[in-house]
Symmetry: C2
Subunit: 232 residues, 2 copies
Amino acid sequence: KIIENIEAYFATHNPFLKGKKVLVTAGPTREKLDPVRFFSNRSTGKMGYAIAEAAARFGAEVTLISGPTELEAPANVEIVRIESAQEMYEAVMERFPHVDIVIKAAAVADYRPKHVFAKKMKKQPGDYVIEMERTTDILKTLGEQKTSQILVGFAAETDHVEEYAKQKLESKQLDMVVANNISEEGAGFAGDTNIVTIFKRDGSVRSLPLLPKKQVAEEILKEIHQYIEAIR
Amino acid sequence: KIIENIEAYFATHNPFLKGKKVLVTAGPTREKLDPVRFFSNRSTGKMGYAIAEAAARFGAEVTLISGPTELEAPANVEIVRIESAQEMYEAVMERFPHVDIVIKAAAVADYRPKHVFAKKMKKQPGDYVIEMERTTDILKTLGEQKTSQILVGFAAETDHVEEYAKQKLESKQLDMVVANNISEEGAGFAGDTNIVTIFKRDGSVRSLPLLPKKQVAEEILKEIHQYIEAIR
């Protein structure tokens, strides 16, 4: 019984990331249209917070860059709160040279309104159009600038999951993509569970069953650890 | 001491809304662009939830129609959760004929994307435009259809607060507008305090100081009660 408990303890507390600096991003971004209105997405930050929490538990020095969420900062994690894709970009780029592993679980907006109004817009009769422009692709920039960092991205898709995940791995020069089909029951943003498939640079693929996000986080970190062991 | 306590109790527990059916709306709405992305606004629902809670405490039978918030349902309040402006419209119109007082504290989107994509949109290089169309103006519809209901609206503005509040009172045939300047420190969406001015149909205006939202809620309900007493 005591041995079982010790084993269980080490299974989740083994500090295999000791000495590693890990940067995790989480949550949505908000892209302002005016002081009241914004564009956003359904990310709740749960997956990223679970990864940050587990990475700290596994011994890493963790910084979590978080968009607006209702979640509490995990224990032993430095948290940096941002709102927009541009703020996320700046917060990530500033820290990127000093970290070993980057896990980008945030759902950063791809587009933002081209014009942001300083005052609340008054409504008018009839339709109108909002011009949108691309935000900076953070993951792509990281892929281009990386030296020795391990880069892990997420792909939340409603269709063609494997195809899009593999494209992302290539086009952004990632080491690993964690893909999920957010239209599946039990997967995706708001819930406490997820169903993911992990695609690695070496071509290996691992599909995990429906699991609590906490366990998905642990599995992702173990995969990263094995990947680092294998390539060094 | 005991008398003081009893007085304090009656000041907040006097059931002056006993027998009244009150409909409160709260929170933002979300207007989908695709299964992941949406338009929304900074409303947190705190003001509306505080009003629903206080109205129940004052003896009313309360229904709270709420957009997506992180708040818990207040005690003794029937809660109806909706997401979009259209769902808010339907939930309000269904209940409107059966209530005495409607307090619309929700920040309902004025516009929604004209086309909602069934699958997550893939990003493309370059800009794009989102066509937006007007949502149904719920408050205006209520003003046109009201029989004996008391209608209370909110005006959250960044400028010309009094002018816009008075316009709203007229154009939507409201009995009362609770206006705040959301660019003022201590007022508006996310905080636990508010600074409001109450404009009534009879031309009277009452400005409240910076107060906790709970107290603002109580003052609004007392004003409604006095208004009903005065017109009947």
